[in-house]
C-alpha cells in the first residue's frame, strides 16, 4: 500500500465537479497552495468548499472563485476578498457562514464519528435558525452536526511515507481536523521524508487519516498582513 503520489495531479485524481472539498488553512497561512492551483487547471466546477476563509482575490481559494468553480462556500470569515463579496451579494455564490469554533468542531466530529454535539456558539443569532436548542447548566446551546467531505486537502510542514504529518506554528490551524474528516484525505507537504524520520511522540496527524501524500512543487507562502516593528 503506497500512499506516496509523485505529483499533485496524481494526488487529486478522482476529484469531480459537484464534489464537497475541505481545504485547510487560516487566511493564506497553511493552505494547500499547490493543490488549489491544480484544481484551477483541472477545471472542476460546482464545488462545495469547506474552508475557514476564501483566500484573497488572486491567491488561495480566490483563484477558484475567479473561475466560478465554487458553487457553495462553508466558512467562518470571508473578508479580504472583493470577488467573494460580489458573488455572494449578487446571489451567484451560496454561502454558509459558521462560527469558527463550530466549524473546527464539526470537522473534528465528522472525522471522529460524532454525528452531532451541542455548543453555546450562535444561540440567539441567525446561525441558530432551525436548529434544536437545549439548556445545559442553565445556558442555551444549539445542536450542530458533523461535516465530512469527499476529499480533504491539507497542507503540512513535513510528512512521511506512512502519511504521518507535522505542521509548523500557526500553519496547523484547521488542517488536523480536516485531515480526519475526508473520505479521501490528500496531504501536500513541504518535505516528504521516509517512515521513521519523524518522532512518533510528536506526530500531529497520524497516518491513518491520510490516504495520499505528495511533496508540493512550489511554496510561495504568501503573507496576507505583513506587520513588523522597527529595530
Amino acid at each position: 500500500m503506497n500512499k506516496v503520489v509523485p505529483n499533485v495531479g496524481g494526488a487529486l485524481k478522482g476529484i469531480k465537479s459537484g464534489m464537497t472539498l475541505m481545504l485547510g488553512g487560516f487566511g493564506l497561512c497553511g493552505i494547500p497552495e499547490n493543490a488549489i492551483k491544480e484544481l484551477v487547471k483541472m477545471g472542476v466546477r460546482d464545488l462545495t468548499c469547506i474552508s475557514n476563509n476564501a483566500g484573497v482575490d488572486d491567491y488561495g481559494l480566490g483563484l477558484l472563485l475567479q473561475g466560478r468553480q465554487i458553487k457553495k462556500m462553508i466558512s467562518s470569515y470571508v473578508g479580504e476578498n472583493d470577488e467573494f463579496e460580489r458573488q455572494m451579494l449578487s446571489g451567484e455564490l451560496e454561502v454558509d457562514l459558521i462560527p469558527q469554533g463550530s466549524l473546527a468542531e464539526r470537522c473534528r466530529a465528522g472525522g471522529a464519528g460524532i454525528p452531532a454535539f451541542f455548543t453555546p456558539a450562535g444561540f440567539g443569532t441567525e446561525v441558530a435558525e432551525g436548529k434544536e436548542v437545549r439548556m445545559f447548566n442553565n445556558k442555551p446551546h444549539i445542536l450542530e452536526h458533523a461535516l465530512t467531505a469527499d476529499f480533504a486537502i491539507v497542507k503540512a510542514w513535513k510528512g512521511d511515507t506512512e502519511g504521518n504529518l507535522i505542521y509548523k506554528a500557526t500553519a496547523m490551524n484547521f488542517n488536523p481536523m480536516m485531515a480526519m474528516a475526508g473520505k479521501i484525505t490528500v496531504a501536500e507537504v513541504e518535505e516528504l521524508v521516509p517512515a521513521g524520520t519523524l518522532d512518533p511522540n510528536f506526530i500531529h496527524t497520524p497516518g491513518i487519516f491520510v490516504q495520499r501524500i505528495f511533496q508540493g512543487e512550489v511554496f510561495e507562502k504568501r503573507i496576507e498582513q505583513r506587520t513588523v516593528r522597527t529595530r
Binding site: 505542521y167 500557526t170 490551524n173 529595530r231
Partner: protein, 218 residues
C-alpha cells in the same frame, strides 16, 4: 477630551489581572497587548492556534507560518504553544480564557452584540466572535461611542444581526467606561474632560448615572 484608540486600549489594559489568559480581537483590542501593567503576567491567546504571543517581528524576520487571528505576522515568547483550531476553541468554549476583548458595531442595553454583518451590504463573517461571546464570562467591548453617521452604537436594541445575546459585561469607548447589568448601561467612568451630558447625548439605550462619575486615570 475624548480618548484616541491608544487611550481606549490603555484603559482596557487596566482590567487585566495576573495570570489571565486573554483573547484580543482585531483592531483596537490588539493594541491592549502593548499596555499590560508592569508586574502582571498575562498570556495572549489567538484563536488561530497560539498561546504566548509576543511583539510583531522585526522587518525581514516575518514567518508566513506564524500569524495572529488578524492574519498579521507575529512572534512568540518563550513558553509559547501552538495547537489546532479545535483545541483553540476548546480553550475558549471551555472557559479557560479569562477575558475576551473585541470590537462591535452595536451593543444593546441588555448586553447583545452585533459585529459581523450588515444585510445586503457587508458580510465578512463572524469568524471566532460567536464562539467567544457565547463562551466567555468576561467580555469587554472596545469601540467608538457613535458610528460614522454620528448615530449611537449603545442602543436599546441592536438593529443589525446579532453575534451573541446578553453577553457583553463592559464597554470602553472614547468617552466612557460602562458596565451592563439589569438591562441598562451603567456609567462607571468618563474620559478626562468629557462631560456626562455628552455621554448621555450619545447613548441611545437606558443609561444609569451615579451621583458622581470619576474621570478615568490613564
Amino acid at each position: 477630551m475624548a480618548l484616541d484608540k491608544i487611550g481606549i486600549a490603555k484603559r482596557i489594559a487596566q482590567e487585566l489581572r495576573d495570570g489571565w489568559y486573554v483573547n484580543l480581537g482585531i483592531g483596537i483590542p490588539t493594541l491592549v497587548a502593548n499596555y499590560v501593567p508592569e508586574g502582571l503576567s498575562v498570556e495572549f491567546q489567538s484563536e488561530n492556534g497560539v498561546l504566548g504571543m509576543g511583539p510583531f517581528p522585526f522587518d525581514g524576520e516575518e514567518d508566513a507560518d506564524l500569524i495572529n487571528a488578524g492574519k498579521q505576522t507575529i512572534t512568540v515568547k518563550s513558553g509559547a504553544a501552538f495547537f489546532d483550531s479545535a483545541t483553540s476553541f476548546a480553550m475558549i468554549r471551555g472557559k479557560h480564557v479569562q477575558l475576551t476583548v473585541l470590537g462591535a458595531m452595536e451593543v444593546s442595553e441588555n448586553g447583545d452584540i452585533a459585529n459581523w454583518k450588515i444585510p445586503g451590504k457587508m458580510v465578512k463573517g463572524m469568524g471566532g466572535a460567536m464562539d467567544l461571546v457565547a463562551s466567555a464570562e468576561n467580555i469587554i467591548v472596545a469601540m467608538m461611542h457613535s458610528n460614522k453617521a454620528g448615530e449611537s452604537k449603545l442602543l436599546k436594541t441592536c438593529s443589525l444581526p446579532l453575534t451573541g445575546v446578553a453577553c457583553v459585561k463592559k464597554i470602553v469607548t472614547e468617552l466612557a467606561v460602562l458596565e451592563i447589568k439589569n438591562g441598562s448601561f451603567h456609567l462607571l467612568e468618563r474620559a478626562p474632560g468629557v462631560s456626562v451630558e455628552e455621554i448621555v447625548a450619545k447613548t441611545e439605550g437606558a443609561l444609569v448615572i451615579p451621583k458622581s462619575v470619576p474621570e478615568m486615570v490613564l
